[in-house]
C-alpha cells in the first residue's frame, strides 16, 4: 500500500522526495493506526521490562553505584577492573562458565537432537510417552527440585547416591557431593542436562516430524545409503529453521544458568568458587556487595557473549536471506 503513495513523487529532487517519503510514511501510519493499538500492550511491557533494563544495564556499567548514593560516572573503569583486576572472574567464573557451557550447550543440544531423532524413529503411537518423559524434567521448578537433589546427593550415608555406591563397594566412605569442590561442577552439569529438554527440544522434535517424506525417497534414488547420511544431507538442511530456534534456546538456557550452583551448595559463592558461574558473579556483586555498577558490567559482558554465540548459531543454521 505504501509503495503506491511513494511512486506519486513529483519532480526528481531529493529533498522533495524525502519529504514525500516521510509524508507517505505518516499517512501509512495513520491508516494502520489499529495495528499500533494491537501492538501497544505488548510493546509497552516489552520496552519497560526488557529494553529499558538492558539499556539501563549498559549505562550503569559505566558508573559506580552502591544503591544508596546516586550513580557516579566512571567511564570504562569497571570494564578495566573486570578485565585486568578481577582474579575471581578470570580464575573461576570464566573457566567454570566455559566448562559448564561447552558441556551443557553443544553436547546437550546434540543430545536433544539425537533423542528427538530416536523418538521419530519409533512407531508414531508410542512417541508421545517418550516425549513426555524427556520433557517433564524441564517442567519442574528449579527451586523446588533442590529438595530432591539435596537428598539424592546428600553427604551422609542416608544420601541415595552414597548409599547406593557404598552398597556396591565403589566408595568406602560417604562423599560430600554438593560441598566438595571436586564434585560440585559435575553434579551441576548432570542436573542441568537432566532438565534441559525444554522448548528447544520440542521444536527439534516437531521439525523432525515435519520433514517431507518425499525428500527421503528422492535421497534414496540419489544414492544415500544409510541413516547417518540421510540425517546429514536431508534432515538437517530441511529443518534448519527449527535447528536455529533450538540452538538459540540452548545458548540462552546455558548462559543464564547460575542459580543451580547456589541451590545445590546452599551458598553463593559456592565452596572454593567451584561452581561459580557468571550469573553467580553478578549476584555476588549486585545483591551481596551492592556494587551495582560493577555487577552491571558483568551483565553487559554476559549479554554480549550470549549475542555473539547466538550469532555463530545464526551463521551455522540461518538461511541466506537473513
Amino acid at each position: 500500500m505504501s509503495q503506491e503513495l511513494v511512486t506519486t513523487a513529483g519532480p526528481p529532487r531529493a529533498t522533495r522526495r524525502k519529504k514525500l517519503a516521510i509524508a507517505s510514511t505518516l499517512t501509512s501510519m495513520r491508516k494502520n493506526w489499529l495495528s499500533y493499538v494491537f501492538i501497544a500492550p505488548f510493546l509497552i511491557t516489552f520496552l519497560l521490562f526488557i529494553v529499558i533494563p538492558t539499556i539501563a544495564a549498559i549505562i550503569l556499567s559505566l558508573t559506580y553505584f552502591n544503591a544508596i548514593e546516586p550513580p557516579k560516572f566512571v567511564g570504562w573503569l569497571n570494564y578495566q577492573n573486570l578485565l585486568t583486576q578481577d582474579m575471581v572472574f578470570w580464575k573461576y567464573a570464566i573457566p567454570n562458565t566455559f566448562k559448564f557451557a561447552i558441556i551443557v550447550g553443544p553436547l546437550g543440544y546434540m543430545a536433544a537432537f539425537m533423542l528427538a531423532w530416536f523418538i521419530t524413529q519409533l512407531p508414531a503411537r508410542i512417541r508421545v510417552f517418550y516425549t513426555l518423559a524427556l520433557y517433564s524434567p524441564s517442567m519442574t521448578a528449579g527451586v523446588a527440585m533442590s529438595v530432591v537433589w539435596l537428598i539424592f546427593f546428600s553427604g551422609d550415608r542416608l544420601g541415595y547416591l552414597n548409599s547406593f555406591l557404598l552398597e556396591l563397594g565403589i566408595i568406602s566412605e560417604p562423599v560430600l557431593w554438593t560441598q566438595d569442590p571436586k564434585y560440585l561442577m559435575t553434579v551441576m552439569i548432570l542436573v542441568t542436562l537432566w532438565s534441559s529438554m525444554g522448548v528447544g527440544f520440542l521444536a527439534l522434535l516437531a521439525g523432525l516430524q515435519n520433514v517431507d517424506t518425499q525428500l527421503y525417497e528422492a535421497g534414496r534414488i540419489d544414492g544415500i545409503r544409510n541413516r547417518l547420511q540421510e540425517i546429514w544431507y536431508i534432515t538437517i538442511p530441511a529443518m534448519k529453521p527449527q535447528m536455529l530456534f533450538g540452538a538459540v534456546m540452548a545458548v540462552v538456557g546455558t548462559l543464564k544458568a547460575g542459580s543451580i550452583s547456589t541451590q545445590l551448595s546452599g551458598s553463593n559463592p559456592s565452596p572454593q568458587y567451584s561452581g561459580h558461574l557468571l550469573i553467580n558473579h553478578i549476584d555476588d556483586y549486585g545483591f551481596i556487595r551492592y556494587e551495582m555498577g560493577y555487577a552491571s558490567t558483568i551483565s553487559v559482558l554476559l549479554l554480549v557473549m550470549t549475542y555473539i554465540v547466538s550469532r555463530i548459531c545464526w551463521k551455522l543454521f540461518g538461511s541466506k536471506e537473513e
Binding site: 521490562f49 526488557i50 527440585m145 539435596l150 521444536a203 546452599g266
Partner: protein, 295 residues
C-alpha cells in the same frame, strides 16, 4: 484421557511390526525415559511418605504406606507462623492465572499485525523480538528492580505480573504460526465487510489456538515456577509466592530434616499443575513447534 488409553493400546499393537533397529531403540529409550523420570517418581513418593519412612536406612524409594500427612503438616506447621502456606498458594494462583491470560492476550494481539499488516516499524519491532529471544531476565535483574521500584509496584500483584507478561518467545511462536494462515482467507472476509476486530476474533484467534495454547503453557510454567519476582520485587512476606516459600524450606535442609516431607509436598504442588496442563495440550504444542523455525 480416553485417547491416551487408546494410544497405548494401539501403541502395543504397533510394537509387533517393529524392525530390529526399532527394538534396540525402543529398549534403550525406555530405559532412558525411566531414568529421566526417576527424580520425579521419587519426588511423588517422598511427598507421600509418612514421617517414619523419610529417614530410614538404607533409604527407600517407594512409599510403603502413602499418606497425605505431609500436606496436612504443611498447613498445621505454618498456621502458627506469620504467613500461612495457604497465603503463598493463593498469591501463586492469582499471579499465575493473571500472567497466563494477560500474556496470551497481548502476545496474540501483537503477533497478528506483525504477521499480516504492513505498517511502518514492523521490521524493527520483529527484529527486536528476535534479538530478545536471546535475552534472559536473570542477566539484568538489577536494572529490572529499579524499573519496578520507579513504577511504584513493589509489593503489589502488578510487580508479580507485569515483568512476566512480555514473552518474546510467545509472540515469536504465534507470529510464525499466523504466517501460515493464507492471506486470501482474510481478504475474503474483508470483502464481505468484516472489520479488523471481527477478523481477529473470528478467524485469526480460532485458527492460531495451538500457538495460543503453547504460549499459555510457557507463560504459566514461568509464572508458577519463578521465584524471581518474589525474591527481588516483594519485601512484604504476605505478598510472596510458593516457589519462594519452598526456597525457605530447602535452605539448610541438611540441618533441618524436619522440613523434608513438607518441602517435597510443596515441590510436588509446583510440578503437578505444569504437568497436567502440558498433558492436556501437548498435541497443540507439537503443532506449534512445527512452525517455530527462525527463517
Amino acid at each position: 484421557m480416553r485417547d491416551w488409553a487408546y494410544n497405548l493400546k494401539k501403541g502395543f499393537r504397533s510394537l509387533r511390526r517393529m524392525t530390529t533397529f526399532q527394538w534396540i531403540l525402543f529398549v534403550a529409550m525406555t530405559l532412558l525415559a525411566a531414568f529421566m523420570l526417576l527424580p520425579i517418581v521419587y519426588l511423588v513418593n517422598h511427598a507421600l511418605k509418612p514421617f517414619n519412612e523419610l529417614f530410614l536406612y538404607p533409604p527407600t524409594f517407594i512409599a510403603k504406606q502413602p499418606t497425605l500427612q505431609n500436606f496436612t503438616d504443611l498447613i498445621v506447621v505454618t498456621q502458627s507462623s506469620a504467613v500461612p502456606v495457604t497465603r503463598y498458594l493463593f498469591n501463586s494462583i492469582v499471579m499465575s492465572v493473571l500472567v497466563f491470560f494477560t500474556s496470551c492476550l497481548i502476545s496474540v494481539l501483537c503477533a497478528y499485525p506483525l504477521s499480516k499488516h504492513k505498517f511502518p516499524g514492523r521490521g524493527i519491532i520483529f527484529s527486536g523480538i528476535i534479538i530478545s529471544l536471546m535475552f534472559a531476565p536473570e542477566m539484568v535483574g538489577i536494572p529490572r528492580y529499579f524499573v519496578i521500584s520507579n513504577l511504584g509496584i513493589i509489593n503489589t500483584y502488578w510487580g508479580h505480573v507485569l515483568p512476566l507478561v512480555a514473552m518474546p518467545v510467545g509472540v515469536f511462536l504465534m507470529k510464525q504460526f499466523i504466517d501460515q494462515i493464507p492471506d486470501e482467507l482474510l481478504e475474503a472476509a474483508k470483502v464481505e465487510g468484516a472489520k479488523e476486530l471481527r477478523i481477529f476474533a473470528k478467524i485469526v484467534v480460532p485458527l492460531c489456538m495451538p500457538a495460543v495454547a503453547t504460549t499459555a503453557i510457557l507463560s504459566f510454567q514461568t509464572a508458577w515456577s519463578s521465584d524471581e519476582t518474589s525474591t527481588l520485587f516483594m519485601e512484604d512476606e504476605t505478598m510472596k509466592t510458593l516457589p519462594f516459600f519452598v526456597n525457605t524450606l530447602t535452605n539448610n535442609l541438611s540441618n533441618n530434616v524436619a522440613n523434608q516431607g513438607a518441602a517435597a509436598a510443596v515441590a510436588l504442588l509446583l510440578f503437578l499443575p505444569n504437568f497436567i496442563i502440558f498433558l492436556a495440550m501437548q498435541k497443540k504444542v507439537i503443532t506449534t513447534m512445527m512452525h517455530s523455525g527462525i527463517k
